[in-house]
Point group: C3
């Protein structure tokens, strides 16, 4: 039986937060579900919750695998409307991504629906990504909105799919559907939507049956070979913050917001087309 | 209306050079077209022109994207008959490739026809590569002719497609058709020939509508994650020059030239087969 | 005509060892065939033979290409039952893999049948891998058996297929059939079984016709761009040895051995399924 946990206090069993849920399918296999309808926008109020989950993942003595998924039809997780950051700003975001990649637990993103901006960055910080062939759409839309992506897709996509495809994905800011995401290595595999849940669940349960120390040690050695240096994550974040301050960027974001960006409707449902119009 | 520019003097509007043309589809979106029939051989006389284009790309305040294409049926751009280099030799070549990769402008190779040797190296130095599924053939034929490739495919292909496939492409010196080029990541994608122009044009126009500073800063961060160190480019060039001096290499090149290498006909149309015969 | 050589004494022409055969198709093109029925288990007694072949590959003045294949139906090469290592232990194994990758000779794994554990590691240390689409099954099963793989798939798979797919292959310990191996870049290509021998033979003969120095220099430059630092190989081996000492690991291996691991039958024919059961 699943145990659903409120992140405010992991000892309570009641669930009061609906934006983010942690369900323990077993002590070894956890699910984190984004449930922030209608768009699964990653809002700043989610940061402390995600941070708390990260700490739990890092310190729990039993958990071996965590699957991230969505309860919102059509959206895995999307961007936040960035504002000019204050002194605390969004700095926790790149740190959370770094911690997730380095955590001694296996993380899996199960991607169904739109996965842009921070959603894509979270998926890229996970250890593996599996997508719905029909229903997944990934993108880093930021360059189209006039700013440098802040969660290090430059560092991660380059290493995942090679320089040429990474530059295309990031600089075109275009939607990437399931088939292309698989061809490019943006995701491990795209599966028929009807098979996705079963596949990811079986994989997670399988990994959860293995030895925790062996999983952690082996992942650590893959990290040595594959993770970007932290300085690249930091530089990317700083470049994002700096680009946000440009008046041209603020104008692009304003143009987008006026046309429905961050609201249900055409703008978010066709974000790739949309950012292609802002500068014309 | 397009503005076509003579590279000898960018202030003239007349076009006197036919080997290489620069056309500005808009101030932000340029096309560089190789037009050196019948084979689009990269001759040494092209180097100053390419150098001048590189300087323009690096310093122009408006250009955001440059597409490289060919006006010669059957050939995108191919090799130069290397000669034992003099004191100046071809040293500008690796430098041009390095500058193209680092330029604060997005470069796209639109590949139709044979793309070997320096043609492949130019395409690899571009930020993205799109190929005609039916009409593109890429290769690094050099090892088959007895010399180390000079324009750093060892550095770039290894990072683009992984060690195993890079070693196969480079050490087999074999022709790589569009489908295989896509599977291996030699190109971003291979498209049906009928769709290629429209696709590349739409992508270039889209990128040209984005913010120049944001494109440049974002590309710079991808460069940190993905470009080979300059020393690898330099070492490759030195190894190429050294291998050229071997008598065995000179004999292979002589054998090839006697059978039509660098002339229109079977040798160039089936270069992969051809270099497979030289040592038998 | 082929010359078959006994590794105990390369000057003898008689073949007394059946586990491993070296056949010289020509002075330039060698074949190393694993022939240790019924499972082609890599036994410790093979190490000195492989070591001797490595020395021959490194020092022979004529050999340019070496193809590794199997004479055992259903198995390319599989794991050794690891025992807690003594002072000499298996240390030669990672060293052999490093030497193979750095050898100034082109190595090709022709993969038909099960290729797990050390078999996969040997294939990954080769310069290229070609697989039977129908008959190849690759895996790193070790994590499922409770220990860190010792032959550096963490270092090599990460660079070959990217972090996400490498983590999936290694941490899931799952069987990877030919199609998926090609999609992930685990192998260069998977070919129809009926075409595999001809393809690999033609490629090897082609490379054998090229200039030995040019092959060696070019490969050396690809190595600079693509080989993991030796320290990663060493760390992986040490982590493997350490994990072997865990009581939980010994229990998993005992469970597996009791159910037919390392013997002909279901356990080895369905190893992926099998290691998925050990911890349930």
């Amino acid at each position: 039986m699943e145990e659903t946990t409120n992140m405010k206090d992991r000892n309570e069993t009641a669930t009061t937060l609906t934006q983010l849920r942690l369900a323990k399918r077993s002590p070894e296999y956890w699910r984190v579900t984004f449930d922030h309808p209608p768009l699964n926008i990653f809002g700043p109020e989610m940061l402390p919750q995600v941070n708390e989950i990260m700490t739990a993942i890092e310190t729990d003595e039993q958990v071996k695998v965590v699957v991230f998924d969505s309860a919102v039809e059509g959206f895995f997780l999307i961007h936040l409307v960035h504002r000019p950051p204050g002194p605390t700003g969004l700095h926790p975001w790149p740190e959370i991504l770094v911690r997730l990649s380095r955590a001694p637990v296996v993380s899996v993103a199960m991607i169904r629906g739109r996965t842009t901006g921070m959603g894509s960055e979270l998926a890229l910080a996970c250890d593996m990504r599996f997508a719905s062939r029909e229903k997944a759409i990934l993108s880093q839309f930021e360059v189209g909105a006039g700013f440098v992506p802040g969660g290090a897709p430059m560092a991660r996509l380059s290493r995942l799919m090679g320089r040429g495809r990474a530059l295309e994905v990031i600089l075109s800011a275009e939607d990437v559907p399931g088939d292309l995401a698989e061809l490019y290595g943006y995701v491990n595999r795209s599966l028929p939507d009807a098979d996705l849940d079963r596949f990811v669940d079986a994989l997670a349960a399988r990994i959860a049956s293995f030895d925790k120390q062996t999983l952690a040690h082996t992942k650590r050695l893959v990290n040595v070979a594959s993770l970007p240096p932290d300085i690249e994550i930091e530089s990317g974040w700083n470049a994002c913050v700096a680009s946000m301050a440009q008046p041209a960027t603020q104008q692009r974001i304003k143009w987008l917001l006026e046309r429905g960006f961050c609201k249900p409707g055409d703008a978010e449902n066709h974000l790739g087309d949309f950012v292609g119009q802002v500068g014309r």
